[in-house]
Subunit: 441 residues, 2 copies
């Protein structure tokens, strides 16, 4: 059998098949599983990429029935029951599609070049670079208007990712970088959260939304609800409530499923998610399962299952159970999602947690959030280093991963620091990304 | 005054000016100081980039007379006494040039695209990607010849960097990855060190060279001395002793100074280093100092000062002293280099150390090497995390930073995992780097 995708769903599926008398191939285009809930900490210089990622091979090393292939899936042939990946044709009896989701720019794909979203390690290092370079550029310029613009950060989307990014950028500006510049005062940076809906954190109860809003405002963020983004360019954002000039724009708004529906020739909902049966398989093929953010599934209450890690893991372990049952001719009860809770952190000693009827905010919420996230990280080493990094940041207000790394290649630069190209010299300019994108397209 | 370059020399100079009644601007095109001696550990997945790099701003935060600018220097106007950087014109009274060195491909600049050297963080992540992808590609291919080629690694150059890279790649193959693949056995990987001279580690006494050779051979490396590389292509290396097919080629051979001589209109030696007086200034301008790998300086014994971190630091602190003396009209004694020693690590419990007349090998050498390197790292956090990472690698044989990160942009890919470009799908092929380089040139 083949599982495509080594995210929370695919990996949980593979692990749940441990010991079964099957031959399982997990295909992912990355060599690592990424712990997305902490990706915003990579983007804001608190953690290194490797601390939220773990090689899929290492995770499945001891599972003898599992083979891992690092390859890009380019097609699925349902008639021939094969997956084409990395030039290889891999036959399957059962197929599990767990390819996750990506950002949705609501039909404005060109916004992606200016306003990166946060799904992969590369997104996080790119956002980190954008944030840190904004301050560097502000220090460099003599134009006061431009300096003001460069110190404006817009986060589009007021869900958990948007709130976490905004809070962390505020801490970077007000604590980490506070005394590092001579010409600009990073504490004057303005972080604007633009949310189309009426409040932040729509998945949470209203009082927790209010708390998040108050905390962010206390940290110097500006919250604009009921505001739709109508345009994005390198110099700012147009919204239903007017223009916001900004040097850095981050996208934490829409999510869209990976194009698995097209691969499978299956029916999809508006967000591109494959419509599956209550058994998480295709309506016309009970040997093909679709799980995680790629699947449109409803909970027992009829509400859609949210696109979060615990949901993907539950689906992964359900699919494994269903296949194990199918192999011995047993039937399986329909998938039933159990919601553990919602957590979002805002900043130092401030988080919102809702588990069952329990609500936590402030220091307690923050501790609960921290423990939960360290607990779910893979590997003792990552847990140790993440805990150490957090303790460090907590005690010193410093962030240890303030690296601006060039993507060397877009600048025609291959290990030759002595010969900067024209584009490389330009890289401090906000237009550089556009230029690079154009030259590459 | 202006100092160009935040490496060992430039940073030591800036720190040595602390408290002086001067106005110092340090310009670097990176935002971070890189601890190059440990860069090979980033390239071989043992450490994260941020663990060997530290923001220059953070280092100089408390030094009120220092301003840091992240900008690319594009020219020096000696007549006007200005440095042009990031579009700004910065006047200087004293100028310190500490722009370091880069790889030299002996006139074959096209080899750079295939055989990266190791000077910057981006070089290290690129090499890490090449090494890890070689194993992934070997697992994926069905062509046995190709598989054999992919498991061949060539390190060009048998100095400290070459020896350290070869030893670390051998450990990655024989320990870290040993049980991670199903179709290939990483332990069969062959690491070939090609050295033009008669022995490894020419800076060390002969018995330590012999020890390094024996240890590397024991770890499965092949050492070819008296062998000149005559050609480099994506499929292997041509040498004076014949062809070596390889999937990964790393460059640890020649070094060439940054082009400061051209900027300054000054005389350079064959390696591009500026010829300076015994006071480290230009023969025709005692207000311009050139230090570190950019300067051609001889020691008291007439031998050239080596291009290592301690030498650069000594020159940085000498230049500061000379300027402080000059400011009050005092003269300074000529620069005198004092050689602390030589250290190179080979692998687990194996390193060679020569300090004065003391020679260490084996476990003792390895401990001395480890302590020295942790001690010289900047920042308590980095020391803690590096020590923890090493303890972890030592105990478990695992390496925590086994990340293959795409350089997303070369593949025309901007945060849109759902739409891989043709080039992106090709990235598993060894030719991809060439293709990307071509498209960008």
């Amino acid at each position: 059998m083949v599982v495509v995708g080594g995210g929370f769903g695919g990996l949980e599926f593979a692990k749940s098949m441990a010991g079964a008398d099957v031959d399982l191939t997990l295909i992912d285009r990355e060599n690592h599983h990424c712990f997305q809930p902490l990706l915003y900490q990579v983007a804001t210089a608190a953690l290194s990429p490797a601390e939220v990622a773990w090689p899929i091979r290492a995770i499945l090393r001891k599972q003898a029935n599992a083979t891992v292939l690092m390859a890009e899936v380019t097609g699925i042939d349902r008639a021939a029951q094969t997956v084409v990946a990395g030039g290889k044709v891999i036959p399957y009896d059962y197929l599990v599609v767990a390819t996750g989701a990506t950002h949705s720019y609501f039909g404005h794909d060109d916004w992606a070049a200016v306003a990166p979203g946060l799904k992969r390690i590369e997104d996080a290092t790119r956002i980190r670079r954008n944030i840190l370079l904004a301050f560097e550029r502000a220090e460099l310029t003599d134009d006061l208007d431009e300096r003001g613009r460069l110190l404006n950060f817009v986060v589009v989307g007021g869900g958990a990712t948007g709130v976490e990014l905004a809070g962390a950028i505020s801490e970077v500006a007000r604590q980490t970088l506070a005394r590092d510049f001579r010409r600009v005062d990073p504490r004057t940076a303005c972080i604007v959260v633009v949310e189309a809906g009426p409040r932040l954190l729509p998945a949470f109860p209203e009082d927790l939304s209010d708390y998040a809003r108050k905390m962010l405002e206390k940290m110097g963020c500006e919250i604009r609800v009921n505001t739709r983004v109508t345009g994005v360019d390198p110099h700012g954002v147009d919204s239903s409530e007017g223009r916001i000039a900004a040097g850095t724009i981050l996208w934490a708004a829409g999510v869209m499923a990976s194009p698995a529906a097209a691969w499978l020739g299956a029916e999809a909902d508006r967000a591109g998610r494959v419509r599956v049966t209550t058994g998480l398989s295709l309506p016309d093929d009970d040997k093909i399962f679709v799980i995680g953010d790629t699947a449109a599934v409803s909970g027992p209450d009829g509400k859609p299952v949210p696109g979060i890690a615990p949901a993907a893991k539950q689906m992964g372990s359900y699919a494994a159970e269903a296949i194990r049952a199918n192999l011995v001719g047993r039937a399986t009860a329909p998938f039933s999602y159990s919601h553990g809770g919602d957590l979002a952190t805002i900043g130092r000693k401030a988080a919102v947690v809702k588990i069952g009827r329990m609500k936590l905010t402030g220091l307690l919420g923050w501790l609960a959030w921290s423990l939960a996230h360290v607990y779910f990280l893979i590997g003792v080493r990552n847990r140790l280093i993440v805990a150490l990094s957090w303790a460090w940041t907590y005690l010193t207000f410093q962030r240890g991963v303030r690296l601006v790394t060039l993507q060397p290649d877009p600048f025609g630069f291959a290990g030759r620091p002595d010969k900067p190209s024209a584009a490389q010299m330009d890289y401090m300019k906000p237009e550089a990304e556009e230029v690079a994108a154009k030259r590459l397209s």
